[in-house]
Amino acid sequence: MSESFDPARWRPAPFLPQDDARDPALLFVVAVLCFLACLAALGALAGDRAAHGWSGQLLGEATVIVRPRGGETPDAAAARAAEALAAVPGVSEARALEREKAYDLIRPWLGDVSDLEDLPVPRLVSVSLDAKAPATAAQLDKALKGQGLDAVVDDHTRWIKDIRRAADVVRATAAVVFLLVAAAAGAVVAFATRAGLAARRDVVEVLHLTGAEDGQIAGLFELRFARIAAVAGGIGALGAAGLGALLRLIGGGQGVTPALPVAWLDLLVVLPCPLLAALVAAVAARLTARRLIKGL
């Protein structure tokens, strides 16, 4: 067999066989993990935004329950309360709700009581607070007391606390999911490195005996798995971003529901995914390969 081989045109071939580097199973698993990690990140962002939206709405308003006292009619008491509240600095509007609104609120508990004219149903005054410098519950309370009104101020603090706690839980859950997924990706790559090293024992042995440093050999596997992970990270990120975009399109400006408002900018959160995946894979491959090579 003759050949026209020109050494001057020779380029060193990769030490590891190239077809190993297209391991579809590993690519698939890492891509799925990256997809899940990106969804967790998107979910955290959307949850955060939803919590902000709700607590913002709640912070901007307060509700005052007015109980008529003495001979005063409920409507008169509510009107007086609204007037007093409107005068408090930090209140942009105070409005007594009509009787029907009050009935609507108690109907679930008492049934239809609208024909019981003389039932002392408390009236509600809805207060809109100045967004920049909202009046505190204590200020509202003082104003009401000053008018001799029997009233309870609810500034929604309790709800806001609940929402904040829920938002914290969402964030923490997303962080835990994210870390778990990253750890799982690392474990998968460590596993694949072990398999790769076992499958390429011949290469590892020859390189080792020919005087390659452990780091040189580990570097081959590190590079390979970092590459696979980067590609897989890209696929997973694209998938998650695609799903996010779909949610956003279906849900219109609000996202799917106000509960999960995805913003276009949120989709950028998937950008670091390929890099992070490559980093995790590189570290996992390096540690595993080094430990195994040391045992040679």
Binding site: M1, R11, D202, L209, T210, G211, D214, K294
Partner: protein, 217 residues
């Protein structure tokens, strides 16, 4: 030395080979020839005792220093250990790449060496497509390409005809003349006798003197 928890395969070996010497290691199959070479090319550690190479105690040396010692040693492994996915050229260039040389510095030397061992027309061939003797010559080319200070060859002429065997022997002699310490494990009594070189004879893991030439102990 021993393998794992197995029996001792080499015992009471005490020898010192001067720089630039040329020795054969003989002995029946299983006598421990390959094991002795493994101790020298740092693929195995003695279970007791020590090995000194280039005036350094390599047994107590930190593992991170060993690669640089290994780069000064060329080995023709008994089972060759060619990489099947790399061309003959890439296999041969491997030690040079590991040592960090640039392709432009060595590619002509590699081509020349391959031509010299009779593989000039098969430089792009993959080892599985080579004949047994061709593989052996390829393994030899890889072992000597980096001009090692010590050359260890484990049955380097097992698969080649008499002429090629003499040619390989002359290559080793040439390297030895240029200063390389050569140790060849072989069953080829004919080659040993013709060469008139000193012999280290192993018998069941022990060094036995051979007449007429005593091993350089």
């Amino acid at each position: 030395m021993r393998y794992g928890r197995g029996p001792e395969v080499l015992s009471d070996i005490s020898l010192s080979l001067p720089r630039g010497s040329f020795h054969f290691v003989t002995g029946s199959s299983g006598a421990g020839k390959s094991s002795l070479l493994k101790l020298i090319y740092l693929a195995a550690r003695p279970s007791s005792g020590g090995v000194r190479l280039f005036g350094q105690d390599v047994t107590s040396m930190p593992a991170s220093d060993l690669p640089h010692i290994r780069r000064r040693i060329g080995v023709v492994f008994q089972d060759l250990l060619l990489l099947d996915h790399l061309s003959a050229f890439d296999n041969t260039a491997l030690p040079l790449r590991i040592a960090g040389h640039k392709a432009s510095e060595y590619r002509n030397d590699v081509a020349e060496l391959l031509a010299w061992v009779g593989l000039g027309g098969r430089m792009q061939a993959l080892p599985p497509t080579l004949a047994g003797g061709e593989k052996q010559r390829l393994a030899i080319a890889r072992a000597v390409v980096n001009r090692p200070e010590i050359l260890l060859a484990d049955e380097p002429t097992g698969n080649v005809d008499h002429d090629m065997s003499m040619r390989i022997y002359r290559l080793f002699v040439e390297l030895n003349r240029l200063g390389t310490t050569v140790i060849i494990a072989t069953h080829d009594q004919d080659l040993v006798a013709r060469s008139g070189r000193p012999v280290l004879h192993l018998d069941k893991g022990r060094l036995k003197p051979v007449a007429p030439k005593a091993p350089a102990a």
